[in-house]
C-alpha cells in the first residue's frame, strides 16, 4: 500500500495550494475578459455601431445620362447607346495580379491595358469599381459569366456609351468624349467626374457644351459587403439628365456640302445665316470617325490619325489659316471708302503692274485693267487698284475695318480649336517681328497676301457682315438647349439682325455688294451665272460672290517669264482656291465661304462649290424651319 501512497500527502497538499492559486489567476483573467467586453459593448458601443454602419453603407453616385445632340431639323447627331462593360473591384489591392492575368486570358487585354488596369485597381479607393473593358459583345459577356467563379470582384455593369450616327460627317462639329483627365477636373468639383465610367467632352460641341450636357448625378445608398459588392439598395435620389442640345446645323445640307467637296483632298466650307449668325453647315475634310473614340481608340488608330498629313483631327473650317487673297479686297475697298481715301467715283489706273521702291507689284492680268472705279475693281479683281487704294487708306484703316469684319480674333462660336488668324497692323509687326511697317507690306495686305491670314469661318463672318448691311453678327452653333423637363418654345423667325451695327456708311456697303453682284454677273466668276446644268440661275436664287486665289509660294520672275502653270507644280505648292458668296442678292440671308487647299484657282475650283451650296441652302431655307424644336420636345 505504501508503495502507492508514500509521500503523496505532502505532494497533494502542495498541489492543492498551487492549483487553487492557478484557478484564482484564471478567474482574474476571465474577469478581465468580461471587463473588456463591458468596455467594447457598453462604454464604446455607440462609436463601434457607427463604424459598423459606415462599413456597411456606401453612397454611390449614379452617372446622369448625357444630353442628346440633334441637328436643327431634329435628326440625331450624338445619342447614348447601352454599353455592357466589365467592372472590377479589388479587396484593398489584394490578388490583383492573379485577377488581371485571368482577365487577360478572357479578353486578351495586351500589355498596355493590363498595366492600366493594375494601376487603376491599386489606386481605387473605397472599393470603387474600375472599368476592365467596355462595349462587351454577347460572346464576351457569356465568357465572363462562365468564368465568374474564378473572378472575384468582377461584374458586368450596364452603362451608356456615346454613339455618333453620322460618324465622320459631323466629326469636327460634335467632337467626341473620353475619360476624364486631370485637366478636365481643374476648376470643376462635380463629384460625378470621379467615377471611372464617366466621360468628358474632349472636342467640338461635346466639349463646348460639357457643363450643361453632363447633367447632375443622382445618388444611391447601398449596403455593401467587404469587397464592395452591393447587397441591397437602401435609398435613392434620382439625378438630372443632361440638357439636350439643338445645333444650328442642317444635317441634310451638311451632307450635301460634304458630298460636293469630297472630290477634293482637303478643304472646308462654312455656311452662315447672315441675320442670326447660325452656322448652317460647316465641313472640313478629311474628318474622322468619332465612334472610334467612343468605343475606346487603340494606340495604332490614334497614331494613324495623328500622323496623317491631311490632319483629319484638325477642324480646318475654324482652325486652318490661309491667306485670303482677293476675297480680302472688300476690306481694302471698304477701308478706302470709309477713310475717304477714295470716293465711289475715284478711278485708279492699272497698267498691269505698279512699281514700289524698285520692286514690281503685278496685277493678275498682265495687260492691265485700264482705269477702274471701286465697283469695277471688285468685279475684275484688279490688283493695281487695291495696291493703290491700300496705300491711300493706310494700314491702320485697313486693320481697323478688317478687325471690325472679324479678322484677327476669335469669334463667339465657342468651339474649341479656333484660330485667330492674323490681321496685321503696325503694332502687330513691331511686336511679333520687331520690324517697322513698310509700304510694300500695305500693298500685300491690300490684296489679302503677305502677313494676312484668315480662317474659313472668318471669311464667312466677313461675307455675312457685308451681306447683312454691316451688322456684327457672331457665328453660333447652339440653337437651343433644354433638359427634358423644360419646355421649349421655338423663337420667332427674325429678318433683321439683332447684332450691333458696325457703323459703316450704308452707301459704301452697297457699293461693295454691287461689286460682288457684278463678280458673278459679269466679272471674274461670270461662269457662275449659270448653274451646274448650264441654266441661268432663277432670279430668287441669284447670288453675289468674290473669288480668291491665294499664293502658297511666291511666283518668281523666272517662273512668270517661263509661263509655268499651276498644273505643273506639285500639289502642295499649288495655290489655294477660295470663294466667298452670299444670297439671295436682293435680300441676303445666307453667306458661304469655300476653301479648297491647293485647288489652283478660286473661280474655277471653289466657285462652283460655293454656287451649288448657296443655291441649295436658299432652296431649303433652314432659317424658317422649327421642326427640330418639336422633335426635341417629344424625346
Amino acid at each position: 500500500m505504501m508503495r502507492y501512497r508514500k509521500g503523496d500527502g505532502e505532494r497533494s497538499g502542495l498541489f492543492t495550494r498551487r492549483a487553487l492559486l492557478l484557478g484564482g489567476a484564471q478567474a482574474v483573467l476571465l474577469s478581465a475578459l468580461a471587463g473588456r467586453l463591458y468596455q467594447l459593448q457598453v462604454i464604446e458601443t455607440q462609436r463601434f455601431a457607427t463604424l459598423a454602419e459606415e462599413n456597411r453603407i456606401n453612397l454611390r453616385l449614379l452617372p446622369p445620362s448625357r444630353g442628346l445632340i440633334l441637328d436643327r431639323t431634329g435628326q440625331p447627331l450624338a445619342v447614348n447607346r447601352n454599353n455592357f462593360r466589365a467592372m472590377a473591384t479589388s479587396d484593398r489591392g489584394r490578388g490583383v495580379d492573379v485577377l488581371v492575368d485571368r482577365l487577360d486570358q478572357i479578353f486578351s487585354l495586351g500589355e498596355t491595358e493590363k498595366n492600366r488596369l493594375l494601376r487603376d485597381l491599386r489606386r481605387s479607393r473605397n472599393a470603387q469599381p474600375v472599368v476592365v473593358r467596355e462595349n462587351l459583345g454577347w460572346e464576351e459577356v457569356a465568357r465572363l459569366e462562365f468564368n465568374a467563379p474564378d473572378l472575384p470582384g468582377v461584374f458586368i455593369d450596364l452603362g451608356q456609351t456615346r454613339d455618333y450616327p453620322e460618324g465622320e460627317l459631323m466629326s469636327h462639329i460634335i467632337g467626341y468624349t473620353g475619360r476624364v483627365s486631370d485637366e478636365d477636373l481643374a476648376g470643376r468639383d462635380d463629384p460625378v467626374l470621379q467615377l471611372a465610367t464617366m466621360r468628358f467632352g474632349k472636342k467640338g460641341m461635346e466639349r463646348a457644351l460639357e457643363d450643361s450636357i453632363r447633367g447632375r448625378a443622382g445618388a444611391v445608398q447601398v449596403e455593401v459587403n467587404a469587397v464592395g459588392r452591393v447587397v441591397r439598395e437602401l435609398d435613392r435620389t434620382e439625378g438630372q439628365p443632361g440638357a439636350n442640345a439643338l445645333v444650328t446645323i442642317d444635317l441634310d445640307l451638311q451632307r450635301f456640302v460634304a458630298e460636293r467637296i469630297k472630290e477634293h483632298q482637303s478643304g472646308s466650307v462654312v455656311v452662315m445665316d447672315v441675320i442670326t449668325g447660325d452656322v448652317i453647315a460647316m465641313v472640313s475634310t478629311p474628318g474622322f470617325d468619332p465612334n472610334t473614340f467612343a468605343r475606346g481608340i487603340t494606340q495604332a488608330e490614334w497614331r494613324e490619325l495623328l500622323d496623317s498629313s491631311e490632319r483629319p483631327l484638325h477642324n480646318k473650317a475654324i482652325g486652318g489659316v490661309y491667306p485670303p487673297g482677293s476675297t480680302y479686297k472688300m476690306v481694302t475697298a471698304l477701308a478706302a471708302l470709309e477713310s475717304k481715301a477714295i470716293e465711289p467715283w475715284t478711278r485708279l489706273p492699272c497698267p498691269g503692274f505698279l512699281m514700289l521702291g524698285g520692286i514690281k507689284f503685278h496685277c493678275w492680268l498682265k495687260s492691265g485693267h485700264g482705269s477702274t472705279n471701286v465697283v469695277e475693281a471688285i468685279t475684275q479683281s484688279c490688283d493695281c487698284f487695291f495696291y493703290e487704294a491700300a496705300r491711300k487708306a493706310g494700314i491702320d484703316r485697313i486693320a481697323d475695318v478688317g478687325t471690325r469684319l472679324g479678322f484677327g480674333r476669335h469669334s463667339e462660336l465657342g468651339l474649341p480649336g479656333e484660330s485667330t488668324g492674323i490681321q496685321p497692323s503696325r503694332s502687330w509687326k513691331q511686336e511679333k517681328l520687331g520690324k517697322s511697317w513698310q509700304h510694300g507690306d500695305t500693298f500685300n495686305i491690300g490684296i489679302g497676301q503677305g502677313f494676312m491670314n484668315a480662317t474659313p469661318l472668318q471669311l464667312a463672318i466677313m461675307t455675312a457682315r457685308i451681306a447683312n448691311g454691316g451688322y456684327e453678327v457672331q457665328p453660333n452653333l447652339l440653337l437651343a438647349s433644354a433638359t427634358p423637363r423644360e419646355e421649349l418654345v421655338p423663337p420667332k423667325p427674325r429678318d433683321k439682325p439683332t447684332a450691333p451695327s458696325l457703323r459703316f456708311n450704308p452707301q459704301h456697303i452697297a457699293l461693295i455688294r454691287e461689286g460682288m453682284v457684278n463678280v458673278v454677273a459679269s466679272g471674274t466668276a461670270h461662269h457662275l451665272r449659270l448653274d451646274a446644268n448650264n441654266k441661268l440661275i432663277e432670279p430668287q436664287y441669284r447670288f453675289a460672290g468674290k473669288t480668291g486665289t491665294a499664293q502658297v509660294k511666291r511666283i518668281t520672275e523666272r517662273e512668270r517669264a517661263m509661263g509655268i502653270t499651276q498644273d505643273q507644280l506639285p500639289w502642295h505648292l499649288r495655290h489655294h482656291a477660295l470663294f466667298v458668296c452670299y444670297g439671295p442678292v436682293d435680300n441676303p440671308r445666307y453667306a458661304c465661304a469655300v476653301i479648297i487647299e491647293h485647288g489652283k484657282a478660286g473661280g474655277a475650283t471653289a466657285g462652283p462649290i460655293g454656287r451649288d451650296v448657296l443655291i441649295e441652302v436658299m432652296k431649303r431655307d433652314p432659317s424658317r424651319r422649327t421642326d427640330g424644336f418639336r422633335k426635341m420636345a417629344s424625346r
Binding site: 502507492y4 503523496d8 475578459l33 457598453v42 458601443t45 455601431a49 459598423a52 462599413n55 456597411r56 467587404a226
Partner: protein, 377 residues
C-alpha cells in the same frame, strides 16, 4: 475496513458509467451547440458548409471522449512516452514535408486524413509531464536538476512548432507546461528566473520572427498604424463586438459577419460572429459555460487520489483555459493575432478531436479517481 480503504476493489462497469461527469458532458454539448448556432449564422443562415458538419463531428468526438474516459489511467501511464515520441516525430515530419496551409506548415496528410501533429503534441506533453512527476517525490520535484527533463519535454515541441511557425500553439504548450510544473512543485524562483530570461530573450526572438509575425505584434501594439492592412482584422473584429452592444444585433443579423468584413469568421473569429449577434449577454453566457468546464476540471483534479490524475486533470484544464483566453483576448484586441481556435465553437476537426480527447482524459481521471498506480521511477 482499513484494507478496503487502502485498496478499494476494482469498480464495475455500471459504477464507471455512473462516475462519468454527465453534467460536464452537458456543458460541453451546450458549448458545441453554440458553435453550431454561430456557424449556421456565419454561413448566412445555412447548415452548409459548416454547422451541420460541426454537429456531426461533435457527436463523433463525444463518442471518443466517452471511450477515452473509460480507459484505465495505467494505460496512459504506459503509453505517455510512446505517444510523445510519435508526436515529436510527426512534428518533425510536418516541418519537413508539411503542406503549406494558411501561410504556415501545420498539416500532415496521411492517406485521406489531414492531421495537425501540434494538437497531438499538446496532449502528449500533458501525459508525459504527469507521468514524470507522478514518479517524483516532493523533494525531488523541487530540485533544479529534476526540473531539467520536463523543461526539455516542453521546449522540444515548442521549438518544433515555432519553426512551422505557429506562435499560438507554441505559447499554449509553453504556458500549459509551465502551469503543470508550477502545480507539480517546481520552486518559484525558477519561474522568476525563466521569466527574466524570457524578457532577456525577446530581442533574439524578434530577430527570429517572420516578417508577418513582427507585423502582427506591431499591429497589436498599435492597430491604427495600418488600418487597411495587418490591423484590419483586429479593427473589424472590435467593431463587430462593440457594435453588438449589450443584447446584440439579433440572430442572423450581424452585418459585420454577413457582409464579410470579418476575417476567418468561421474559425478564429467565430467568437466575434457570435457576440455581434448575441451581444455581451451571449458572450458572458458562453464564457460562463467555459468557466464551468474549468471549475469541473479543478474539482476533478483536486479529488483525484493519485498524482498522475491530478496532473492530467489540471493539465487539461489549463489547456482549455489557454484556448479560450488566448482566442477571446485576441479577437477583442488584447493579444496579438496568433491563430488559436475557440474550442468546440470554431470550425475545424483536429482541434475538436484533441480537445474532446483531453476531456475524455479529464473525465477518465474522475472515473478512476481512486485507482492505484505504481510509482515507477
Amino acid at each position: 475496513m482499513s484494507l478496503a480503504l487502502d485498496a478499494p476493489a476494482p469498480i464495475g462497469f455500471g459504477e464507471k458509467i455512473w462516475r462519468i461527469n454527465w453534467g460536464l458532458v452537458l456543458v460541453l454539448t451546450a458549448i458545441a451547440g453554440i458553435g453550431v448556432l454561430a456557424l449556421y449564422s456565419a454561413a448566412g443562415g445555412r447548415f452548409e458548409p459548416w454547422a451541420a458538419r460541426h454537429a456531426v463531428r461533435y457527436g463523433a468526438a463525444l463518442g471518443l471522449t466517452l471511450v477515452v474516459a473509460l480507459i484505465h489511467p495505467k494505460v496512459w501511464l504506459t503509453l505517455a512516452w510512446p505517444i510523445y515520441v510519435v508526436s515529436m516525430l510527426l512534428l518533425v515530419a510536418v516541418d519537413v514535408v508539411g503542406k503549406i496551409g494558411m501561410g504556415a506548415q501545420r498539416w500532415l496528410v496521411i492517406g485521406p486524413m489531414q492531421i495537425q501533429p501540434s494538437e497531438i503534441a499538446k496532449v502528449a506533453v500533458i501525459l508525459v509531464l504527469a507521468r514524470y512527476y507522478h514518479g517524483r517525490r516532493k523533494e525531488e520535484a523541487s530540485k533544479f536538476l529534476y526540473t531539467l527533463p520536463p523543461i526539455a519535454v516542453i521546449l522540444a515541441p515548442v521549438a518544433l512548432v515555432m519553426v512551422q511557425p505557429d506562435l499560438g500553439t507554441a505559447m499554449m504548450v509553453l504556458l500549459g507546461g509551465g502551469a503543470l510544473l508550477f502545480v507539480a512543485g517546481v520552486r518559484l524562483w525558477m519561474f522568476l528566473a525563466a521569466g527574466i530570461a524570457a524578457v532577456g530573450c525577446l530581442p533574439i526572438a524578434w530577430s527570429f520572427m517572420h516578417e508577418y509575425q513582427r507585423k502582427r505584434v506591431l499591429t497589436f501594439l498599435d492597430p491604427d498604424r495600418d488600418p487597411l492592412g495587418a490591423g484590419y482584422h483586429i479593427t473589424q473584429s472590435k467593431i463587430a463586438i462593440g457594435s453588438g452592444g449589450l443584447f446584440g444585433k439579433g440572430f442572423l443579423k450581424g452585418t459585420q459577419s454577413s457582409l464579410n468584413f470579418l476575417p476567418e469568421k468561421q474559425t478564429d473569429f467565430i467568437f466575434t460572429t457570435f457576440v455581434e449577434e448575441w451581444g455581451m449577454v451571449g458572450a458572458l453566457v458562453l464564457l460562463a459555460l467555459f468557466a464551468l468546464v474549468l471549475v469541473w476540471g479543478f474539482s476533478i483534479a483536486l479529488r483525484s487520489q493519485h498524482h498522475f490524475g491530478r496532473l492530467v486533470a489540471l493539465g487539461v484544464t489549463a489547456m482549455m483555459f489557454l484556448y479560450v483566453f488566448i482566442n477571446t483576448a485576441m479577437v477583442m484586441g488584447l493579444l496579438p493575432v496568433v491563430g488559436v481556435p475557440l474550442p468546440l465553437v470554431s470550425n475545424g476537426g483536429t482541434a475538436m478531436v484533441s480537445v474532446m480527447f483531453a476531456c475524455g482524459l479529464l473525465i477518465g481521471v474522475n472515473v478512476y479517481r481512486d485507482a492505484q498506480l505504481p510509482l515507477r521511477r
